[in-house]
């Protein structure tokens, strides 16, 4: 059965990938800790603070498999997508701090950032609108015929929006190379799932549109990885979109100002035990993919990396207020952004 063996080998990420996944998981957790529980509380970050605490494995297990030329449309809870795509941490912290060094130069804040050269499309606050945008990017990618895909995230709360219906239907009808990833974190702000939808699993909506739909444990990065691998492989060979529902739990308030008192304590404690990072780290240690020393070194390196990035971001100047009126339009030869960042040859 060599064929099956090969398939199995392909399905399992190698040691280097496993280690990278742990790195991005931990980096996300620590970076967002600094954002939510240090910089925000110090009053250095103003505005809304949204993090992916508890659901980091969804972003990491999927986005880690993107290749050059792919496109990703993160939500406000997909910090890892930006770093996996190579956006420097300093730039990300600049965005949170409203500095000129940010990809948005202070024009938008927090998790609203993108870099089209890296295939990252910035989210907006009306959640899920980017899923239709991902379809358009996928149209361009399909036309280019290089096997690239668009990875688009949305929450279970967002699944109730019409944009998701339109995007999933359009993607299915046009057989677009899109992977729809629903991070079902059980809470839409303060609204629990039973008030959001009436099906047992959102995965059933995949077949309803004519695409595969699976539901996986979103706190198991390897389960997420495997489901995404399958969905991406399908998309890359022209078989169209897929839906992956990743079940998880939002281990923080909707945003930093929300103490989430509406979440039952018992549920919080249950999900704490399922922490995706603890679980994965334990697995890597048990399987001897990594030693304790190596993990400790990784932790130290992450702290150092964050210290440096935050220091650089804090040293970056704030924008000049009068710049607010510049760059509303993109005019050739007179672009305030210098040169509009575009991807060509898609």
């Amino acid at each position: 059965m060599p064929k099956l063996k090969r398939a199995r080998r392909r399905a399992a990420p190698d040691a280097a990938t496993l280690e990278r996944m742990l790195y991005f998981l931990k980096l996300t957790r620590e970076a967002e800790y600094r954002i939510e529980r240090v910089l925000y509380r110090q009053g250095k970050i103003v505005g809304g603070v949204y993090t992916s605490r508890g659901q980091e494995a969804i972003t990491v297990g999927t986005a880690i498999q993107l290749v050059d030329g792919d496109v990703v449309t993160p939500t406000h809870r997909d910090f890892a997508a930006h770093v996996i795509r190579g956006l420097p941490l300093k730039d990300i912290f600049c965005n949170w701090l409203g500095r000129v060094g940010a990809p948005t130069r202070g024009r938008d804040g927090g998790p609203h950032l993108g870099d089209i050269r890296r295939g990252i499309i910035a989210p907006v606050s009306p959640v899920g609108a980017w899923c239709a945008v991902a379809c358009g990017a996928a149209m361009a990618l399909k036309r280019a015929g290089k096997g690239n895909i668009a990875l688009t995230f949305f929450g279970e709360g967002t699944s109730a929006r019409g944009d998701i219906h339109e995007a999933m239907n359009l993607a299915a009808v046009m057989k677009l190379p899109v992977v729809f990833v629903c991070n079902n974190n059980a809470w839409a702000y303060s609204t629990p799932v039973e008030k959001e939808y009436a099906v047992k699993s959102l995965a059933v909506r995949g077949p309803a549109y004519g695409m595969p739909g699976v539901s996986v444990d979103g706190n198991d990065v390897l389960a997420v990885y495997a489901a995404a691998q399958k969905a991406m492989a399908r998309a890359r060979v022209g078989k169209g979109p897929s839906l992956i529902e990743c079940r998880t739990f939002r281990m923080t308030g909707h945003s930093a100002h929300d103490n989430a008192e509406y979440v039952p304590e018992k549920l919080k404690r249950q999900w704490e035990k399922k922490d995706p990072i603890d679980r994965f780290q334990k697995l890597l240690l048990t399987r001897r993919v990594m030693t304790r020393e190596r993990v400790a070194a990784l932790d130290t390196a992450i702290q150092r990396e964050l210290d440096e990035a935050i220091a650089q971001a804090e040293a970056s100047p704030l924008p000049d207020g009068a710049d607010a009126v510049k760059g509303v339009y993109c005019e050739p030869g007179d672009c305030w952004w210098g040169k509009p960042s575009v991807v060509r040859g898609a």
């Binding site: 499309i121 239709a132 945008v133 358009g136 361009a140 036309r143 359009l170 760059g327």
Partner: protein
């Protein structure tokens, strides 16, 4: 020079841009085999193929959203709204996504959303609206409203080549009623520039879209009474040609602001504010608005006729203003 309808001029403009730039493509409802509800895209599927003339489900939000995504990838989508009334279903994608991308994080979003607007064909409340002001109040968009066949071609070509999201309002009443000589060669009419359609000295009418023709009709009548009206066609509502507006007001000292759109929050209000701020000293009479009333567009012919501004209403307003 061939004589062309306003509709054929738009079609010709799109066709030429499709030939000129392989990144240009079309998406919308019934635009392929059917050629669009008004046949603006007739023959394009046969000529350019399914990959570039894409029939979509009835999903205005996804149509606009997909256009944004494709534009971000360097393509130049032209999305059709079957009727501009339905653009409301894609509103969020236009105002929150497309309009703000360049300002927020830098990429260009070269896309056009076009379709038929306006009343006069008994289309009723959902096939007749002039809802351009929804978008004129959205920084980051450009809003284009051609009145002539020549402009229709030149402006659609300029819109497709523009690096910003452009909302292109075609007037369905003009589609087959306006015929004029339109050059077959490649030309563009620049966005953001108004045109003086008729030179005058006693009074200026500043307008756009189908009302340009109403203004010209009124001006012809009033000329017989010895009143020489200037007619300024804005052509682009956002960003609009402030200089041309002010120049005409300074020249004529009396101004009528005319549009088919409803009154409150209409373009006339914006222009009146501009004129009051920057040309107050030049005015010899009150700024006068001739617009549709603040109602939905009614269906039954007598109601619709009452609703729409026409030459007679302009003439009456002009006579009152002339008395100052």
């Amino acid at each position: 020079m061939p004589v062309m309808t306003y509709l054929d001029a738009i079609r010709q403009g799109i066709w030429e841009e499709m030939e000129r730039d392989p990144n240009v493509f079309l998406l919308g409802e019934d635009i392929g085999a059917y050629g669009g509800a008004f046949k603006v895209t007739a023959g394009m599927l046969e000529k350019f193929g399914e990959a570039r003339v894409i029939d979509t489900p009835i999903s205005e939000s996804a149509i606009v959203g997909a256009a944004v995504g494709a534009a971000l990838m360097g393509l130049r989508p032209v999305a059709e709204m079957q009727f501009m009334d339905f653009i409301s279903c894609g509103f969020d994608q236009i105002v929150n996504m497309a309009a703000k991308i360049h300002y927020r994080w830098g990429p260009s979003v070269p896309m056009v959303i076009r379709g038929p607007s306006g009343a006069g064909v008994h289309g009723g409340p959902f096939h007749s609206q002039s809802n351009e002001m929804w978008f004129v109040h959205t920084p980051g968009l450009k809003v284009v409203v051609p009145a002539t066949a020549y402009d229709a071609k030149g402006l659609i070509k300029a819109s497709i080549r523009d690096d910003n999201p452009v909302i292109f309002y075609e007037h369905k009443f003009l589609y087959r009623r306006i015929k004029e000589e339109v050059p077959e060669d490649d030309y563009v009419v620049p966005l953001g520039k108004a045109a003086v359609r008729r030179e005058g000295r006693d009074m200026t009418i500043i307008t756009y879209g189908a009302m340009v023709w109403t203004a010209l009709e009124a001006a012809e009548q009033l000329a017989k009474e010895g009143l020489e009206l200037e007619v300024v066609d804005l052509r682009t509502l956002l960003p609009y040609d402030e200089e041309s507006v002010l120049a005409s007001v300074r020249k004529c000292s009396k101004v009528i602001l005319l549009h088919e759109d409803t009154r409150t929050g209409g373009m006339a209000g914006e222009l009146a504010a501009l004129i009051a701020e920057k040309a107050f000293e030049d005015l010899d009479g009150p700024i006068v608005r001739v617009t549709a009333p603040d109602t939905p567009v009614p269906f039954s012919p007598p109601l619709e006729e009452f609703f729409l501004p026409n030459a007679q209403k302009v003439i009456e307003a002009a006579r009152r203003l002339a008395a100052y």
